[in-house]
């Protein structure tokens, strides 16, 4: 049974990691846009 949950958890960890990377890139680009406007 542990294997079942491990698989589902692994799936969401992988998707979550990618989404976290995207979020980080978004905040970086927001910062850069701010500094450009100045």
């Amino acid at each position: 049974m542990n294997y079942l949950y491990a698989a589902y958890v692994a799936t969401w960890v992988i998707h979550g990691t990618y989404l976290a990377i995207l979020v980080r890139k978004y905040s970086k680009i927001r910062q850069e846009m701010e500094s450009l406007k100045k």
């Binding site: 049974m1 294997y3 079942l4 491990a6 698989a7 589902y8 692994a10 799936t11 992988i14 998707h15 990618y18 989404l19 995207l22 890139k25 978004y26 680009i29 850069e32 846009m33 450009l36």
Partner: protein, 227 residues
């Protein structure tokens, strides 16, 4: 645009939750493998989604080579990245499933091996995009994507024949599927397709912003240099 995005996000969240419930609770328990078989509802749709994304990548690459349309290039990049993410899921869930059922972490299962090779090809595609110093990187990447796509049927047949000579367990069991299970499988696939669309949309917008900022920054340093 913004409203469509929010609607898609909500639909995705709902579908994923519902699909999860169906997979873990509502779906009937498989006779031989037991509850572990439920990994199937995540493993297979992820593979189908990845293959679909790579197909879109191929089409976008061809369109880009013909029309040199930037949007096609960005779509190619986005589908490659998200495709690799879904591929990674397939390769994580596959062995986790194989281990309790067959006692081994890896088998030369057709779907699993094909996914591994696709993963390798598209990771090399992403590496080329990152490491290339040419100003025409999108063109080179598009060419590579076409080569990758041409390779797929060859990979399929070579693994297929290899398996007939070295038979090994098939993850996900061959044979016919209980209609209730097929139902759950399709629901999960629909949910993952929505997730893929959502993530691709997000990544697409991010890439557009990044390129605009890069252009603006280049312009600014150019102007500063001439002062």
């Amino acid at each position: 645009m913004k409203r469509g995005f929010s609607i898609l996000a909500i639909v995705t969240a709902l579908l994923l939750s519902f699909a999860l419930y169906e997979a873990l609770i509502a779906a009937p328990t498989e006779r031989t493998m037991g509850d572990v078989q439920r990994i199937f509802y995540y493993h297979v749709p992820s593979a189908w989604t990845a293959f679909l994304l790579f197909l879109i990548n191929f089409v976008a690459s061809v369109v880009f080579l013909i029309r040199r349309d930037t949007k096609a290039d960005i779509l190619a990049l986005v589908t490659a990245e998200v495709g690799v993410v879904f591929c990674t899921v397939v390769m994580a869930t596959g062995p986790i499933w194989a281990r309790p059922v067959w006692g081994i972490w890896w088998t030369w299962d057709l779907r699993l091996t094909l996914t591994l090779v696709l993963w390798l090809i598209y990771v090399s595609y992403l590496v080329l995009r990152r490491f290339s110093t040419s100003s025409k990187t999108p063109v080179l990447a598009a060419v590579l994507a076409i080569f990758g796509a041409l390779d797929v049927p060859l990979v399929y047949f070579s693994i297929w024949f290899f398996r007939t000579q070295h038979p090994s367990p098939v993850i996900g069991g061959g044979g016919s599927l209980d209609p209730r299970m097929a139902h759950v499988l399709l629901i999960n696939w629909a949910a993952f397709l929505c997730l893929a669309s959502l993530v691709c949309w997000t990544r697409f917008r991010l890439e557009v912003l990044e390129r605009e900022v890069e252009e603006a920054q280049a312009l600014e340093s150019l102007l500063e240099g001439s002062r």
